[in-house]
Structures are given as C-alpha cells and as structure tokens.
C-alpha cells in the first residue's frame, strides 16, 4: 500500500464528512457539557452526566463512521478494483448533476433568506401583509415575473383565507398589524 492514495466514492466521501462533523459536534458538546454549572440541589454533577454520556457516544460513532469508510476504501484498493473505469462519461453526468445541484442549493438559500425576512416582518406588519410578501417572493422564485397575476392572486387569497380561518373559525390569534396599533 504505502504511498498509494486511497480513493473514495462520492457516497463514501459524504460519509467521511458526516463522520468528521459528528466528531466535531461531539467534541463541542462535550466541552459545553463539562462547563455546565454545578447543581445547587441534589447531586452537583447530575445535570452533566447525561450530556457527557451523549457526547462520548457521539465521538465514538463519528470515529466509527470515519474508520468504516477507510476500511472499505482499503479493501477496495487491495482487491484492485479500479474506480477509473467509465470515468469520462461519469464525469460528464456529474457536471450536469452539479449544475442542477447548484441551482437547487441556490433556491434553498433564497428560501431560507425569505424565511428570515418573514420572521423580521411578521411582528411589525402582521400576519396578512408579511405572508403576502413571503409567499409572493417564494412563488416568484419558482414561477418568474411573467406570472405576476397568478402570484398576486395566490398569495392574497392564501393569506386572507388562513387569517380568517384561524382568527374566526379556529380562534387562534394571529397578529393583525401591530405597527399601526391594530
């Protein structure tokens, strides 16, 4: 073996990353657990025991996942299966996949940003208006500006319908428009 570099398939790479992240999460959580204050009542260490146990298990699991990937890669290297076969066409498909993935990730990031905006607007301008903005932007993201009539209709109807449903039929209070004192 020695200098020969181990090759990981893409799913093994994902697992490797998951393993490292788990070890990281376990470590951070362990440090935070140990830093917890002592309990004033009962056994002083009692609030720490369970979290510390969790972090130790997490560290073990993360390490096991990493080791598992290395062992699998080692075994493959030994048996001499070359992952290079059919690499070219695979690379092409991969590039296509990647373009799709990037677009997908962009949409998720934009949706999360839209959700944050929704949270910021919700309390000051109330349920109906903030929901029209949120839903409008979300629909815009997928349908484009040309469908503005549909976007406007759907977000208006949804917001007002849900508001009326919750406040009058179900009796769940949703903020109306606090900024104007309503």
């Amino acid at each position: 073996m020695g200098d020969k570099k181990l090759e990981f398939s893409s799913s093994q790479k994902t697992s490797l990353i998951s393993g490292y992240v788990s070890v990281g999460v376990g470590a951070v959580y362990l440090i935070m657990s140990l830093a917890l204050p002592r309990a004033a009542v009962g056994m002083p260490q009692a609030p720490k025991v369970f979290p510390v146990g969790l972090s130790v298990i997490m560290l073990g699991l993360g390490a096991a996942l990493v080791i598992q990937q290395y062992l699998a890669a080692l075994q493959k290297a030994k048996s001499g299966a070359s992952p290079a076969a059919g690499k070219q066409s695979a690379a092409k498909a991969k590039a296509k996949e990647k373009g799709k993935l990037e677009d997908h990730t962009k949409k998720i990031i934009l949706t999360v940003a839209n959700g944050v905006l929704y949270a910021l607007l919700f309390s000051p301008i109330g349920y109906v208006l903030s929901t029209i903005v949120f839903l409008g932007l979300e629909l815009l993201l997928f349908s484009g500006r040309k469908r503005w009539k549909m976007i406007l209709t759907v977000s208006l109807v949804f917001s007002i319908f849900v508001y009326v449903l919750f406040s009058s039929v179900l009796g769940v209070y949703l903020p109306r428009m606090p900024i104007l004192g309503l």
Partner: protein, 499 residues
C-alpha cells in the same frame, strides 16, 4: 366488557355531525397532501396540526385520524397513477399499482387499494381494542429504571432498523437527544445549552422540529424537480371497482398481510415501509405465478396496502400505552395529544379512558369515511395534482410557518423551523435517517429524567438498571436489536468469502 362500553361511548361522540364533518374535511385535505410527491402522512398531520389547536380533544383526534388516513390514501393514489410514492410506506404500492395503471386498469388498482386499506385498517383496529388495555395494565408497573431501559430499547431499535448505514442511524439518534437537552433542567433549574437566549430556556418544542424536518426538509428536497412542469396524469376514469375474479385473488393476500402489518407496526422503529415490503415479498413467494409480480398483479398491490394500514394502527399501541411513538406519523400524533394537554402512557387509559376510546372510535370512522369518500371522489381529487407543484409547495411552506407560530406564538420558532429544515435536508443528502432523531427529540427529556430518578433511588449505583426482570428483558432486547443486524451482515460476508 368495560372496554366495549367505553368504545360505544367513543362512537357516540365521534359520530356527532360536526365531528363527521371534521373527519371528512381532514380526510380531503390529508388526501391532497398525501398525493403530492414526497409528502406523506407525517407531513400531512404536521402541517394540518394547527387546525386542531382550539378544538376539543375528541374533535381534534378525529380530524387527525381523518388527515392520517387521507394522506395514506392519497399516497397510494400517487403511487398508482404517477409512480411517485409520498413516503416509504407507499413505495410497495408502485411495484404493481403503477403497471396496472399503465395497462389501463387504474380503476381496479384504485379500488383494490382503497378496499385493502380499509380491511387492513379496520381489522387491525379491532385487534387493538383487545391488545391495548392489557399492555397498558402491564406498563403501569414500570418504575424509572424500567422506563429508561424501554426508551433505550425503542431508540436502539429505531436507529438499528433504519435502512442504510446503521452508524448513521445512531448518529441521528444522538443529535435528537442533544436537541432534547436544550433548556432549563427540570431537576436542578440549571440552564443548559441556551446560549444566553431567553427563547431557548423552555427548550425547543419538538413539534417545531417535526414540522421542520417533515415539511420544510421534504419541500427543500422537492425543489429539485419543482419546475418540471405539469404532471402527466390520467383524469378520466371508468367505474372505480373490481371484478369478482380480482376480488377472489386478493382476499387471502389481504387476510395474510393484515397481521403482518399490525405486528411490524407495533414494533418500535419498524413502520409501514417495512410492513408493506415484507407483505409484498411474502405474497410473491406464496404466489403460484410470481412472474406476474411487478407486472400488474393485483394481489401485489392489495397485500402491501392492507399491511400498510394495519401497521399504522399497530404503531398506535406503543404510542398510546407507553408514550413511545413507533413511527414518524405516530410521533406527530403524539405531539397533537400533548398539545391538548394529554400525556400518552399507561395512565392515560386509567385517567382519561374517554380520550383513548374516542381516538379508537375515530380510527374506525375515519377508515370507513375515507374509503367511502375516496372511491367515488378519486377522479375529482386527482385533478388537484394538475395544479403545478411550484404553486403547491410554497403553500405548504406557508402552512408550516403558520403552524409553527400557532404552537407557542413566538416568531423565534420561525428561525428554529428554518434551521431544522436545513438540518433535515442536509441529513437527507448525507443519507442520515431522520426518524431516530424525531423519536429522540420526543422521548429525550423523559429518558434523561427517568435515568436520573432511578439513579437517585439507587443512591448512585448502576445496579438498579439491571435489577428487575423487566429491565433485563428490555436490556436483552436492546442487545439483540443492535447485535442481530451486525451478526447477520457478518454471516453474509463470511458466506461470500467462502464462495
């Protein structure tokens, strides 16, 4: 006999016109969500939960039951007509359901799926009436140590039974337990992992986590093919029914698959997915013409559908009697019960029998109404699928936000919802299963508290966890549920090597 009287009382409440209206509304809405590709009963119940927040307990439960069954019917509808199962449990329905639809036998496929689901669900509910009371009576003797061992077993089984890499199942479980430790520790009053945020002191509501993972996470995943235009779907149907011959082929498969589904569903962690796959494989092995399976064999659709519905009823048993949800959907149902101020577990049967029996009665009625509504309405409801997903998914997002807000009226939950939605999506990408996380978030607190209570009782020794026979049995089950799959894969490897 007493149970029977209580069940009858449950029926009188569940049969009130208003409740019948709710179960129908819940059923139709659930069907719509269930039909959407990628969204199943867990998402349906999670998203529609806020509808029930201000209802009385029985009305809320019957609405939930309607949503639940509706989403299951909707899921198999999508499996049959579009080959897009809503969740894992509906996958087996695509094997023969979709080929049947392609051969122009969509009517028979839709009808047998509704009939098999109805029989599976109803028979399982009858069995449940007899099983749940003894289980609850038995569980009432459990002390803190027994409960701790039970939680460990339920979590270990869930993590171990998930498909794919088992280590990842356990990682998911630990993440869930970590989330559950956030907030003020009820025994000592110490703030744990709150990062100085006031909103984190009361912990993160597990319903927010559930809505985030099941609704947001799934919708994020669906963004990939959201712009792929309209779905090509059959909208005109003949009479939705089956012939006498088709019925004859299906009777035995349905009867055989129902107990399989019920039993698998009652196990912690093994849900409808496993039940329906086992039933399907079982029928293929028993069949005289196994070559027809996968090419539109009607019993290949009837068997998994019956097993799926039976398992959804079976999963209610550990949830109601022990407070341990065996599947994603029962986890959400348990959340719904807790929102109503009820604590599922053996005491529920003693203190509020009317609720338990009301729920069981609702399940009977939900099952009947959904079967009645679904067969004639199949053609109409399917048209909703003609509304493009790029409009439907943003609406699901809107419903998730209003649902999360209605739980505790805090905008902070919006941020948690987004954060856990992203976490759910990333986990999905990394092939880390989400169900162990959900179960852990729900039972995490009780698990730690029972651990510490047992510890105090025993003056700080671990012996108490292995003292009673019940403890030892649960411990043995934990060892088996972790060890058996390991052993099995080791044996498979040995066999391969010897070849």
């Amino acid at each position: 006999m007493e149970s029977f009287m209580l069940l009858m009382d449950g029926f009188t409440v569940a049969l009130q016109p208003m409740n019948l209206l709710w179960v129908t509304i819940g059923g139709v809405l659930g069907t719509i969500i269930g039909m959407l590709p990628g969204l199943g009963p867990a998402t349906g119940v999670a998203v529609l939960l806020p509808l029930t927040f201000t209802m009385g307990p029985v009305a809320a439960l019957i609405t939930m039951a309607g949503v639940y069954y509706g989403a299951m019917f909707g899921g198999s509808r999508a499996s049959i007509l579009l080959n897009t199962p809503g969740d894992g449990a509906a996958v087996a329905a695509t094997f023969d359901g979709y080929p049947m639809a392609r051969q122009g036998r969509a009517e028979a496929a839709l009808a047998i799926s509704a009939i098999a689901s109805f029989i599976g669900g109803t028979v399982a509910t009858i069995v449940m009436v007899f099983v749940s009371v003894p289980v609850a009576r038995f569980a009432i003797k459990f002390g803190a140590a027994e409960y701790f061992q039970l939680y460990v077993f339920a979590l270990a089984a869930t993590a171990s039974l998930t498909k794919g890499n088992r280590i990842k199942g356990f990682i998911s479980m630990i993440i869930g337990l970590m989330i559950a430790t956030i907030g003020i520790d009820p025994q000592s009053g110490i703030k744990r992992f709150t990062f100085g945020l006031l909103e984190l002191q009361s912990g993160i509501d597990f319903l927010v986590v559930i809505i985030a993972v099941f609704a947001l996470g799934e919708v994020f995943k669906s963004f990939q093919n959201i712009t792929e235009g309209k779905l090509n779907i059959q909208k005109k149907f003949g009479k939705i029914w089956i012939s006498r011959e088709e019925w004859k082929r299906c009777v035995w498969p349905i009867i055989r698959s129902t107990p399989i589904g019920f039993f698998v569903g009652a196990l912690p962690g093994a849900g409808g997915t496993m039940a329906s796959l086992i039933a399907y494989n079982n029928e293929r092995q028993l069949s005289k013409h196994p070559e027809e399976f996968g090419n539109g064999a009607i019993e290949g659709l009837a068997a998994p559908e019956a097993a799926n519905n039976a398992s959804s009823v079976g999963a209610m048993i550990p949830m109601l009697t022990l407070g341990i949800p065996g599947s994603g959907t029962t986890a959400v149902m348990m959340g719904a019960l807790m929102i109503l101020g009820l604590k599922p577990g053996p005491l529920l049967f003693q203190q509020q029998p009317e609720i338990v029996w009301g729920l069981i009665a609702s399940m009977f009625i939900g099952n009947i109404i959904l079967a009645v509504v679904n067969i004639p309405m199949a053609g109409g409801l399917v048209r909703i699928l003609a509304v493009p997903p790029k409009i439907l998914y943003p609406i699901i997002l809107g419903l998730s936000f209003v649902g999360a807000y209605a739980i505790s009226f805090s905008v902070m939950d919006f941020y948690f919802l987004l954060a856990f939605g992203v976490l759910g999506y990333i986990m999905e990408k990394a092939k880390i299963p989400s169900s162990p996380l959900i179960l852990a978030v729900i039972v995490g607190n009780s698990m730690e508290q029972s651990f510490r209570r047992a510890f105090v009782i025993s003056d700080g020794t671990l012996g108490i966890f292995f003292k009673s026979p019940i403890c030892i049995i649960f411990f043995a089950l934990t060892v088996i549920s972790i060890g058996y799959p390991l052993l099995k894969s080791a044996l498979v490897k040995l066999k391969e090597r010897s070849r």
